[in-house]
């Protein structure tokens, strides 16, 4: 397939999302247009159903997927809205993934159109490809730094759809490190973006937090020790209380800036190390945490300085968190290579690796 409209479905964790993507691979630089795209998070959904019917609240992906599909596909002839289907089949929560997979299977069966089961993580990587400027310069081999609330991976790509994970966190994801740090500072959960906000005019050298494994030759990372370090720093060590930290004003800004620096420094050091070990022509910065301003700017500086000639391509901030447009984009890569799956054999794969 060279020119088609692909329907993307994403239900792997908290978000339910549906997208229609028009893609045209006939030109040297593929043309891509996000025709329709909606994302609803569990928070919105819970508000919408108000927990009135417990089964609905607990399995809200089901009514939400149906409602989003109904609203995004053509009223008159819904199956004519797309030429192919892409769905996140894993990794994620089994019951959540199954909703999207079964929707995709049903649509594939009734329409007779091809379906692709996409790895949620390759979806994140494909989000960078949705930027026209990136598509023009797109070049392999590439190294993706994929950072989100649930994942922190360094992925080597020799070509579209060909992935090798060369490094990853051994415990907490980077986004989780941000969120739990915020919790320890009494900023609520999830509070990653709040840390970044307070960090903006803080002194990142005011406190020293560990940068675990930063000098370790492996490309793995570890962020779980940061929680203990913060707890010691904020002086609630042995008492083990979750709240009650009294950082305000300048001190809060400084502690946030120092935490952010410790996380970002590790991510950048490991990315640069990986790119030197596996020489690449481009770096991709993707996933929810890729929206972090400091990570975006520090990585740009580091790539310019340490990896001359290497391109840095970032996912757009609006498509950094879980969404169906990225799933459709990854599905389009597979279809362009002539790859699709048998809907009868497709299943949710909660522990799927890249």
């Amino acid at each position: 397939m060279k020119r088609f409209t692909i329907l993307g479905i994403e239900t792997s964790c908290d978000e339910t999302s549906v997208a229609l993507l028009d893609v045209d691979f006939r030109t040297k630089v593929p043309k891509v247009r996000i025709n329709k795209h909606v994302v609803s998070s569990q928070i919105d959904i819970h508000a919408k159903y108000g927990g009135v019917v417990p089964e609905v609240a607990a399995r809200s992906h089901v009514p939400e997927t149906v409602s989003l599909l109904t609203s995004q596909l053509k009223k008159k002839d819904p199956l004519s809205s797309f030429d192919a289907i892409a769905v996140s089949k894993g990794p994620g929560l089994a019951t959540a993934l199954r909703v999207g997979v079964q929707a995709a299977q049903t649509l594939a069966w009734t329409s007779g159109k091809p379906v692709v089961g996409v790895n949620h993580l390759e979806g994140h990587i494909a989000s960078a490809w949705l930027v026209p400027e990136n598509r023009k310069r797109w070049v392999f081999p590439s190294l993706a730094l994929l950072v989100s609330g649930g994942h922190t991976e360094l992925v080597l790509m020799k070509d579209f759809c060909r992935y090798t994970v060369v490094g990853s966190t051994r415990d907490d994801a980077a986004g989780e490190a941000f969120d739990k740090s915020a919790k320890l500072l009494g900023l609520g959960y999830p509070g990653g973006p709040k840390i970044s906000k307070h960090a903006e005019d803080g002194n990142d050298e005011a406190y020293h937090f560990p940068r675990p494994m930063i000098h370790d030759p492996s490309l793995d990372m570890s962020f779980s020790g940061l929680k203990t370090a913060i707890r010691q720093e904020v002086g609630q060590g042995a008492r083990g209380k979750e709240q009650g930290v009294s950082y305000r004003g300048k001190a809060l800004k400084d502690v946030c800036a120092s935490i952010e620096a410790s996380i970002v420094d590790v991510l950048i050091a490991k990315t640069i190390r990986a790119a030197k070990k596996h020489p690449v022509k481009s770096i991709l910065l993707v996933g929810g945490v890729s929206a972090n301003k400091r990570l975006r700017s520090d990585l740009s500086t580091a790539v310019r300085k340490e990896l001359p000639g290497v391109l840095l391509m970032k996912s757009p901030v609006g498509l950094a968190t879980d969404n169906a447009a990225m799933v459709a984009a990854a599905g389009a890569w597979h279809l362009a290579r002539g790859e699709s799956h048998d809907w009868k054999k497709m299943d949710a794969e909660p522990e799927l690796d890249l």
Binding site: L93, D171, G237, P350
Partner: protein, 145 residues
């Protein structure tokens, strides 16, 4: 009912506790692991998984809420690693289908933040592991059935 208490001061200490717990676990058991952020709950589950012969090392399940690991120790073949940290209303535990998952023979379940889901844990055969932070190291107690 038995109580065991350990005072550990290094990472290796977790393996000692894991060895003891692993020897006590039976098919269908639930291990409730309590302790504040940064206490070492996930680190303990990593040690437990290793003790049970897992090929993959567990990572934090906070975001995904449930991760499954193939293990191999006598009758125990699957380790479910659950994190209730993001669960505000117990009803949100339902999509994890834990009862169904636990029914699969050879499954044991290790749960972080069990205090978030008291109703689900009530009247269940559980072993309760409590981790307290000390200035140097951790005090870990296990209250088992």
């Amino acid at each position: 009912m038995s109580v065991n208490v350990w005072n550990i001061s290094s990472v290796e200490g977790w393996s000692r506790i894991a060895k003891h717990i692993a020897s006590k676990l039976r098919d269908g058991d639930v291990l409730a692991i309590e302790g504040p952020l940064g206490a070492g709950k996930t680190t303990f589950v990593q040690a437990l998984a290793q003790e049970l012969g897992a090929s993959r090392t567990p990572k934090s399940p906070t975001f995904s809420m449930l991760r499954t690991y193939a293990v191999n120790q006598k009758s125990i073949k699957r380790l479910l690693h659950v994190d209730a940290y993001r669960i505000e209303n117990e009803i949100d535990l339902l999509p994890l289908d834990l009862d169904e998952e636990l029914h699969i023979p050879g499954t044991i379940l290790a749960m972080e933040w069990p205090e978030r889901v008291p109703k689900w844990l009530a009247n269940r055969r559980i072993c309760r592991l409590t981790i307290e932070m000390r200035k140097y190291g951790r005090k870990v107690s296990c209250l088992g059935s």
